[in-house]
Amino acid sequence: MFERALNIFWILLGGAAAAYAWTLGLVGPSVPDSGLFPFISALIVMGAGVVLLLRSPVEAAAPDFPRGAALARVLGVAAGLAFMAASIPYLGFAVAGFVTMIILLRAVEKSGWLFSIALAFISVVVVVWLFGQVLGMTLPRGPWGW
């Protein structure tokens, strides 16, 4: 089921990209134009998707996607990263990182509160020091200045 969905996705993606590339123009005066390479690549994606779709009923092995608790952990990690990316511009790196780490440690792996807070705090401090001070990189700051 997943295989088929993915293959159809390839076909749609390839088709859409090919159409877009067509509008960019394929051939200029004797030289390939902007659209040519993407067009060919998109056609290959589409073609490969078709081949895979036609083949897939024969291959029976279903991919082992996680269920239950395992799935929750995977989604939890993804959600944690999404939260981090979304909140950095508002909270600054330090706070966003701190909160995200606590979320990951608590929700995904069920570590104790004290342990999570301590580890999150130390990790963020070390990382900010390493990148911010030692390497001189400017990490995003929250509204409180750090």
């Binding site: 877009y20 490969a48 952990r73 990182g97 792996e109 580890l119 990382v127």
Partner: protein, 491 residues
């Protein structure tokens, strides 16, 4: 001044307390920068450039150069331990290096990586010592048609690397090409696939892709299964490479050195391309290619040597001609200019102290790095003993910072997450992710050099046959493709 005399001058320059200290400092920083995921030599050099203002030209250049090749030593560490590339040139080391770590052989992998780096780095400097000007004179004639032929060779090597379904592999390559097209078409300045977004107009950041596709994917896959244990479930079997490892590795090291050096010379080549092509070469030559991707030590020895040799190769055009082949060497050039030194063909003649000082420092630096990295192998291997539930949030935190460091753009974090999820799904459905990454790396230069070649040729496509180097490489490609079909037919 002949090579030996020059080298003696160079050692005379470098063997002062101040310069030795700077070489060591640079090696240390380079290793650190290499180990930290995402932050690569370019970022580090850009950040540390102002420090060179207060140093002498020799001191400043020695430090910057040692950061450059130092990063190639450290880069393999997180690749092997955590499947997170330290920087783009260490992506390939993830494939077999991390598998080795999972089998309890992290120490061997790290050791071979360090030694391979040393061998390649030293060999590279030796060649540089004796042949730099001659090589530079040839390298400069490499134009768009030669670049194109080289990239085609690279893509064909990629097809060799594909394990599993060929159709899926080809799809990944094509997808890589498509992804590489997002952004501004360098040949005519038009935006492609950007849909009005400024972030997309800069293209998809390679670092975000590789950290997502390898690092994040690995974490997602691991949290599925590992609840309370560590990354390595087997007993850690010894910390050093065995005799068998040596026997398997020494030839890939030499091959990687040669290949990497050559690719470093070519503009647009460099450590990243070198590591990929070395992996493909080793897999192609191996008697048991199916071992690759499951912990074959050749897959670590070759690429790690290649990326270090490529550093030496890429420094030659800068010092001999004043021509930078990649962003890092462009920065080294800028550093020289800021110091008031004009790099160019006359550089060696006008500033032999500086040129030979830098060359001599590379010998010393490689020794420092070997001494720095080997003892750390034991330490790094112990890192894997940390329970995964503690390790993975730290890994993710580092991934986020590393990705962010590339362009200081939060958009890249979304790219990292997106590719992490994509990689997770594709991995489940048995897609090989490596061809996608290689295509992403090679596509821009391939497309650009093809269109440049056609633009500069009054006779259209004939230019590829008119130039001897190009014709030779393209013939080699044709032969390889023919061999590939023959193999496929047989099996």
């Amino acid at each position: 001044m002949d090579a030996v005399g020059g080298l003696l001058t160079g050692f005379g320059v470098i063997l002062t307390p101040e310069n030795l200290y700077l070489c060591f400092l640079g090696s240390l920083i380079g290793t650190l920068v290499g180990v930290l995921p995402g932050v690569g030599p370019l970022a580090a050099l850009a950040l540390l450039l102002p420090i060179t203002f207060t140093l002498t030209p020799v001191g400043g250049m020695v430090m910057l150069a040692s950061i450059f090749y130092g990063a190639m030593y450290g880069g393999s560490t997180t690749s092997i331990l955590l499947n997170i590339p330290g920087e783009a040139a260490s992506v390939v080391t993830c494939f077999d290096g991390h598998q080795m770590a999972k089998q309890g052989r992290a120490g061997a992998a790290l050791g071979i990586a360090a030694i391979g780096s040393f061998v390649a780095g030293t060999l590279g400097v030796i060649v540089m010592t004796f042949f730099a000007p001659a090589i530079a004179a040839v390298a400069i004639r490499f134009g768009p048609p030669e670049n194109f032929a080289l990239m085609v060779l690279g893509v064909i090597c990629t097809l060799y690397m594909i394990g599993g379904s060929l159709v899926k592999g080809v799809l990944m390559v094509a997808l890589g090409f498509l992804t590489a097209a997002i952004g501004i078409d360098v040949v005519n300045g038009r935006e492609r696939f950007t849909f009005g977004s400024i972030d997309l107009s800069a293209g998809i950041e390679l670092l975000a892709v590789v950290i997502g596709l390898f690092g994040v994917t690995e974490v997602l896959s691991n949290v599925e299964r590992i609840v309370k244990s560590t990354v390595v479930t087997d007993r850690i079997r010894g910390l050093w490479p065995t005799l068998a490892d040596w026997r398997a590795s020494w030839r890939p090291m030499l091959r990687g050195s040669g290949l990497g050096f050559f690719l470093g010379l070519v503009p647009g080549g460099g450590p990243v391309t070198a590591s990929f092509m070395s992996y493909a070469l080793e897999k192609r030559i191996s008697a048991h290619p199916e071992r690759f991707g499951k912990g074959a030590i050749e897959g670590v020895a070759g690429p790690e040597s290649a990326n270090n040799a490529a550093v030496a190769g890429s420094i030659i055009p800068v010092l001999s001609l004043g021509i930078p082949g990649n962003p890092v060497t462009a920065l080294l050039l800028g550093a020289l200019v800021i110091q008031g030194i004009q790099p160019g063909p006359l550089f060696i003649a006008q500033r032999p102290d500086l040129f030979w000082g830098i060359v001599a420092s590379m010998y010393v630096g490689n020794v420092f790095l070997l001494l720095l990295n080997l003892p750390l192998v034991g330490l790094w291997a112990q890192l894997l003993r940390i329970p995964y539930r503690v390790l993975f949030p730290i890994v993710l935190l580092l991934s986020v910072v590393g990705t962010y460091s590339a362009n200081k753009n939060v958009f890249d974090l979304w790219v990292m997450l997106g590719f992490g999820l994509l990689g997770y799904v594709l991995h489940k459905l048995e897609y090989d992710l490596a061809p996608f990454v290689i295509a992403l790396v090679l596509a821009p230069l391939l497309e650009q050099s093809l269109r440049q070649s056609l633009a500069m040729s009054p006779d259209g496509a004939m230019i590829f046959l008119q130039r001897p180097g190009t014709a030779l490489m393209l013939t080699a490609c044709a032969v390889l493709v023919a061999l590939m079909f023959r193999r496929a037919k047989k099996s």
